[in-house]
């Protein structure tokens, strides 16, 4: 007997939650307990009184599982609202990465040239290295990191995705 896997779709979920102790463990634990995937998760408070946080989760799964994830998240007591950005029309998603690249001579110039193409900023430099700051979609950052790997990538730090729906209405 072999265990079969289902085809997955990527979804970006945006949650507003009460900013209380243990909320992140509650959400992350729900994903592990029910066998759901987390590709990235970001969290920060978004109201002046620090009472509400936005959590953005990139997950993947078959449509039925995504529907369950949303229903299960919505059921948690401190969760105010769950929005599937992928399903709710056009939306903007961004991720920020810091990319450390080492090299000298032609490699160094090529790194700068590529950074310019990707509109990455230099935020630290030594004679033999740069740290680039780049924002964009996950795919754009993947591409940039892939190119830098060929030049002299040392390491990467990424924030994970945040997103909002387009237009004047809130999520």
């Amino acid at each position: 007997m072999h265990i079969q896997e289902e085809l997955n779709q990527r979804h970006v979920l945006s949650l507003t939650v009460s900013n209380e102790a243990g909320i992140l463990a509650r959400i992350a634990g729900l994903f592990t307990a029910r066998g759901y995937n987390i590709d990235s998760l970001t969290v920060a408070d978004i109201t002046p009184d620090h009472g509400v946080s936005r959590i953005t989760i990139v997950t993947n799964g078959p449509p039925k599982v995504i529907d369950q994830i949303i229903a299960q998240l919505d059921r948690l007591v401190p969760v105010h609202k769950v929005t599937d950005l992928t399903e709710s029309g056009p939306f903007v998603e961004r991720e920020l990465a810091l990319v450390k690249v080492a090299g000298t001579g032609e490699e160094r110039i090529e790194a700068l040239r590529l950074a310019d193409v990707f509109r990455a900023k230099v935020v630290d430099t030594t004679i033999e290295s740069f740290i680039f700051e780049i924002t964009g979609t996950t795919e754009k950052i993947d591409n940039f990191v892939g190119l830098m790997r060929q030049i002299g990538l040392v390491e990467v730090g990424r924030t994970g995705v945040v997103g909002l729906i387009r237009g004047k209405e809130p999520v």
Partner: protein, 583 residues
Amino acid sequence: MAEKSGADILVECLIDLGVEVVFGYPGGAVLPIYDALYNHPTIKHVLVRHEQGATHMAEGYARSTGKPGVVLVTSGPGATNAVTGITDALMDSIPMIVITGQVPTQLIGTDAFQEADTIGITRHCSKHNYLVKSPAKLAGVVHEAFHIATTGRPGPVVIDIPKNVQIATAPYKRPDPIQHASYRPQIKADAAAIDSAVEMLAAAERPIFYTGGGVINSGPDASALLRELAALTGAPVTSTLMGLGAFPATSDQWLGMVGMHGTYEANWSMNQADLIICVGARFDDRVTGRLDAFAPNSRKVHIDIDRSSINKIVDVDVAVVADVASALADMIALWKQRGHDKADLSNWWARIDDWRTKKSLAYAEDGTEIMPQRAIADLYAATRATGKDVIITTEVGQHQMWAAQHFGFDEPNKWLTSGGLGTMGYGFPAAIGAQMGNLDSLVVCIAGDASVQMNIQELGTASQYRLPVKLFILNNEYMGMVRQWQELTYESRYSNSYSDSLPDFVKLGEAYGWTGIRIEEQADLEAGIRTMIETPGPVIVDCRVAKMSNCFPMIPSGAAHTDMLLDPSQVKGSMTDEAKALV
């Protein structure tokens, strides 16, 4: 305003919330609360023998009274011992409040004596939980916890209170009614969904009501409304294990239980229906059998207060997110308003009557050995004859399924069993809890010889509070359901399913001040049961039943509703790996 200690605030809250009984066990981290209880004799405290017992007693109390069950245990082992009962209450949607002591806030995280991360451990087995770090916040949390435990889909809520918070003081004022920022269960159904459900029901040729524990949780009104809607439509009714009693077993429209050990007529009706109205049930694997063969030609309406239950396992055509009573009332009102008549279901009923002729619950008897099914049937007849209010609890295993098959329930809240988690050790403490909440009722725990030993220590609790529970043990000297599966799947290799070294249950009961009765032959069965019922005080019955009898009908794992095993001759003794891998 005069300040009160956290412990006093907690007890004030319990009184304000109408709590009459607390099931608990003292310990270092709850001593201040126990001292506060000492000064408030209006709250009855039931001292258990093990914290798991307290949780199941609270479940039994809650399920039989409709009120939330309250548990009070200490930190560390007190809390971890309660975890099984908390999980059980979550799976079966039982309203329960578990108050746990915790080490003082300055010691949290230091591996202090009797410290456990109760909040971390119970986070995913409770509906919600709280660590209260200030006495000023305690009243708000306790009132909110009761609100969350008892509304929406009910469940267990844990309140972890560090010892210094129990001693520190704060002003106490009874909190205003809860307006929760994010927790707002949907009670009233969407009108369009009700409309679709009613029209589908009116047009159906082969409808069936598939009802579950949600009908019981919704309250007595829901059961009454279910009966009314069933009468209006003339459709057959089946139920999950948890829903027994919501619809009367004595009704002509009742098909018996559905699922793995359900009746032939219930499972075939589900399979052949053109419309399934699922009312407060959740398409559990014990109900559906093989999913790709489940009710293949039916449309489905699902009424559930928990949105996450909808489309979780089986895709449905109409989702009605609402409280069962509210949704059924809306459906009945619209049915009448539209002037729908009872459809002609005579062809459908003719087919059902044909399935009924299989008599799938029949069993062979030799006249001397007591068949377990006979023991249940006689218990049913004898308890009915008393005219008393009868409450039945069970442990988990063959005896549980036989009880579900052969004991008829006509009212909700009279059948208490561990359905979702399947917790051996549930039934006996649940009976004690039910008796605490229903002092004049006849409460009988139907147990197996193996299950009953999992919380047998609670014999002392019943003795202490003079609770006249009846513990009716079907003793076949086996973990019968395990043995049955080994016969079906592993060619009868009985790996560790024999109950060796059983105690003498009669003497064990007597050691705790109970009356003990042994019934060994069918000729003594009726008289033995009568003696059990008529003897005042708690009674333990060691009823020796046929050792090798198995529970039929059965849908083996991986099989469809149409592939039921009706008797032992159909058992092959082995299975494919795919079927073996299913629970």
